[in-house]
């Protein structure tokens, strides 16, 4: 083990003491300006400036960084503190397993795009423009997704074709893309750079087609396709220009085969295929929430109650001629029994439908019952226009829809006047929320929280990339309108291009490793992993190397110390604490992403804190066990501070919530063992909150 110490321009002069066997102490002036040959599996203590700086200069994974500049020199603490910090770091490194370098070659520089909606089309054309071969997999017989189902797009009311058709044209200009329609992903294996996707193509029925349309004329089966009527053999004006048979409703009567100018086969078989790719883009779009579950609104039970999509398709195809319409907003959204979140775009969609209907039928009476109208941004203009066009807005969530004298009645309270209100109408439109296509994410092994890919909602994770080879685009990330979906698609395309600029990915990041001799397969780590990286393969715990982010929470949770993080494990942290903490000290276990940086900031801003505060850098506030607090208290510590990121800002998605949950148990245990249960504090400390950190430790020092 080597210990590299910077003298910090002569301010640090360590005594010539022995650090133990096999430990070489080297003192250098201006450590940061020198280059060292460090073997990949060598353990090194680097003592100098803050780890935030030194990690960049000495990117060595199995290193323990000692912060002499910010923790000793700048606060004006004594030289003995520097010696304590270095000996403790040496004690820790003795118990640490070295970090192995993992290499993922990018074998296939090809992409699979799942979903042929507006986002998938945009990703494909952007990637094709960069010379990357793309395979697009679309579940339906025609491209276009949700956009192709609509008639107009908000806010201007542009016909959908004006946006969709040029996009498809752009995509088809490049012949590097293969498109599979009527296809479905059945399984995915592999890691970044080397995925194998197996897909199943369902039969289309129509093999050669001149687009004459005679088959649809003779087809006896009428199908209600979300409000619009069509035949069992049908065509949508997007892509490809070939009719398709909907085999779910087809009766196989054979009428179409007789009149066909091309070739129709009713007993075509599906094809299974395997495709290899380096990256996968999930553009599966949105699914409409099933409003039949909101029983009080009577969808599917009462005639005339319909969803927004059905309403739009029925009105624009001329099937519906409404006189009096009530829109019910937030049907199954922001509701503890249904979708907990706001789907963001349904308010706009409802406004668009109202505009569509007042444009078409001047005499129609429109009521919009919304508990909150969320017309953010320029949609306020649409909201204003509709009020001027005579649409009545009612504030309040309707309680139920029922039938009286052949009419639908919506019962609500008008919050503006505080009076009960019953509106009789012939049509009730339920504006439902959206969910993503969870099936595909499950097949890819992407962990979802609140139905959405977990990394999305966490702003501190920034880049919004899913585990290293899987990207989301469009409404699969979160419900989005066309404009947002296109922006998101370009983001995904850019991420793929970025990835393919490299021939291999080298990761020197610590990963969790499981010692199979100690593991009892209790499965506690599976539940605690924020990334879903741990699973059971052949009755053994298996850690997916590409999913593990190195938070160390599993290592702390494991009751038999079988799971360990490379470069960090409970035993190492224990010996670090035992070597560092003395009688009357305060131990601060600080998250390296937030609270630890606050101590650096304290040094720069000259915010003083007592010298007996012993600071240890941990990967996450969730990676601190009860036993570590006990270690410190047994050594005579006055108090223990665990500092983490603010709620919902954790770098490891949910680590600080694990810490919060553990705090409760910790207090009970401390009480039982005769320690003061208030000697432990869990605090959220931001990156620059030096004063908060200082005031907490000063308070604890009293």
């Amino acid at each position: 083990m080597r210990v590299l110490v910077c003298t910090c321009k002569g301010k640090i002069q360590l005594p010539k003491k022995d650090l133990g066997p096999n430990v070489i102490l080297e003192q250098h002036d201006d450590l940061c300006k020198k280059k060292f040959q460090i073997k990949p599996d060598e353990k090194v203590v680097i003592a100098g400036c803050s780890p935030t700086v030194m990690e960049g200069l000495f990117p060595h994974a199995t290193a323990e960084y000692v912060n002499l500049h910010e923790h000793v020199v700048l606060p004006g603490h004594g030289i003995e503190k520097a010696w304590d910090l270095i000996t403790a770091a040496v004690a820790k490194l003795e118990h640490v397993t070295p970090v192995t370098t993992r290499v993922f070659p990018i074998k296939h520089k090809e992409v699979i795009v799942i979903g042929g909606g507006i986002a998938g089309i945009e990703v494909t054309s952007q990637l094709a423009r960069n010379g990357i071969t793309v395979t697009m997999i679309e579940q339906k017989p025609f491209l276009g997704g949700t956009v192709a189902q609509l008639d107009r797009l908000y806010p201007e009311g542009t016909p959908y074709g004006h946006t969709l058709m040029p996009q498809i044209g752009n995509m088809l200009q490049n012949d590097t893309s293969r498109i599979y329609t009527n296809a479905e992903v059945t399984g995915v294996t592999g890691t970044v750079g080397n995925y194998t996707v197996s897909l199943h193509t369902h039969p289309r029925g129509v093999i050669e087609c001149t687009n004459c349309g005679k088959c649809a004329d003779v087809c006896p089966v009428e199908v209600d396709d979300a409000g619009k009527m069509r035949k069992a053999i049908y065509y949508e004006p997007t892509y490809p220009d070939i009719y398709a048979i909907d085999f779910d409703t087809c009766t196989r009567c054979g009428e179409c085969v007789k009149v066909c100018e091309g070739k129709i086969s009713l007993d075509e078989k599906g094809i299974d295929k395997e495709i290899q790719a380096g990256a996968i883009v999930v553009a599966t779009g949105l699914a409409w929430y099933d409003v039949a579950r909101v029983e009080e609104y009577g969808y599917k039970r009462l005639d005339g109650v319909m969803t927004t999509l059905e309403f739009e398709r029925a009105v624009t195809s001329g099937r519906l001629n409404p006189k009096k319409i009530v829109f019910i907003y937030c049907a199954g959204s922001r509701d503890s029994k249904h979708l907990l979140y706001c789907s963001k775009i349904c308010c706009f969609l409802g406004l668009k439908e109202a505009k569509l209907v007042v444009d078409r039928f001047p005499d129609v009476q429109v009521y919009i019952a919304a508990m909150d109208m969320r017309s953010s941004g320029t949609f306020e203009y649409l909201y204003n226009t509709l009020r001027e066009r005579g649409v009545s807005f009612i504030k309040g969530k309707p309680s139920e829809v029922f039938q009286r004298n052949g009419n639908l009645v919506v019962r609500t309270e008008d919050l503006y006047t505080n009076e009960l209100l019953e509106i009789e109408a012939d049509t009730v439109v339920l504006s439902s929320g959206f969910t993503p296509d969870t099936q595909t994410f499950n097949k890819l092994g992407v962990r979802l929280e609140h139905d959405f890919p977990i990394l999305f909602e966490n702003a501190s994770l920034g880049n919004m990339e899913l585990p290293r080879g899987i990207f989301t685009a469009g409404a699969a990330t979160f419900p989005a309108g066309v404009r947002d979906a296109l922006i998101d698609a370009r983001k995904a395309a850019f991420s793929v291009v970025n990835l393919f600029h490299q021939d291999k990915i080298e990761m020197q990041q610590p990963n969790a490793v499981v010692n199979e001799d100690l593991c009892s397969v209790c499965r506690m780590c599976i539940g605690t992993c924020p990334y879903g990286a741990i699973s059971i393969v052949e009755d053994k715990i298996h850690v997916d190397e590409t999913l593990c982010m190195g938070c160390g929470i599993c290592a702390i949770t494991c009751p038999s110390y079988a799971s360990q993080l490379e470069g960090f494990n409970p035993a190492a942290l224990s010996s670090h604490i035992r070597a560092l903490v003395r009688q009357g000290d305060i131990l601060a276990l600080l998250c390296k992403w937030s609270a630890y940086n606050a101590t650096d900031r304290a040094a720069y801003d000259r915010v003083a804190y007592p010298q007996n505060v012993r600071i240890i850098r941990v990967p996450c506030s969730g990676a601190v066990d009860i036993s570590h607090v006990m270690d410190a208290l047994q050594n005579g510590a006055k108090g223990v501070l665990i500092g983490g990121c603010y709620p919902n800002a954790c770098h490891y998605a949910r680590g600080n919530f694990r810490a919060k949950a553990r705090e409760q148990i910790l207090r009970i245990n401390l009480d039982l063992l005769g320690f003061n249960k208030n000697s432990v504090r869990l605090e959220w400390i931001g990156k620059d909150e030096a004063r908060k950190f200082a005031s907490i430790v000063k308070e604890m020092n009293k």
Partner: protein, 163 residues
């Protein structure tokens, strides 16, 4: 006009401590409870949303002294539909309990309590009633039920009601 000068900011926190009132702060005022309420359908002066709003604003006097607080029929239609999952009927119950504890018991309840304490019955049985029962061929009933009186004593409800 609502005058917040006399508002008691601790009122909502005290209600939360009562059983059934824990979820009070989840309310975002969508008025689904008020629109579902069958009592409100007959008397619009009763409004569960208004009770919750006034509680959240801390208008203690106004909430507790209001006779409408006691209109709730406990049908739980509001509980069923509340999008925030607040058990609204339980919440109203919690406010009622708080009102009684703080000496806001309605007179009707006090009279009922006195009858129960005296007779063990909510309805006084007189000789006239017994005669009528005899005529109809029904067996006679006791004028008092001492067990009920005893149970009442054990519960210690007197201390609360007579406050």
């Amino acid at each position: 006009m609502i005058d917040l000068k006399n508002a008691d900011v601790n009122f909502k926190w005290e209600i939360i401590k009562h059983e059934g009132g824990e979820q009070l702060l989840k309310c975002f005022g969508c008025s689904d409870c008020a629109a579902s309420c069958p009592v409100r359908y007959f008397d619009e002066r009763y409004n569960p949303r208004k009770i919750i709003r006034l509680t959240l604003l801390g208008l203690k006097e106004q909430v507790l002294s209001s006779p409408f607080l006691w209109f709730c029929a406990h049908c739980h239609a509001c509980t069923e539909r509340c999008p925030q999952g607040i058990p609204v009927a339980e919440l109203i119950n919690a406010i009622k309990n708080y009102a009684v504890e703080n000496g806001f018991c309605p007179e009707g309840y006090k009279v009922q309590f006195d009858l129960l304490k005296k007779l063990g019955r909510l309805y006084e049985v007189e000789d006239f009633d017994l005669k009528k029962r005899q005529k109809l061929g029904l067996p006679p009933i006791d004028k008092t039920i001492p067990e009920v009186v005893k149970i009442l004593e054990y519960t210690g409800i007197e201390k609360v009601v007579k406050r």
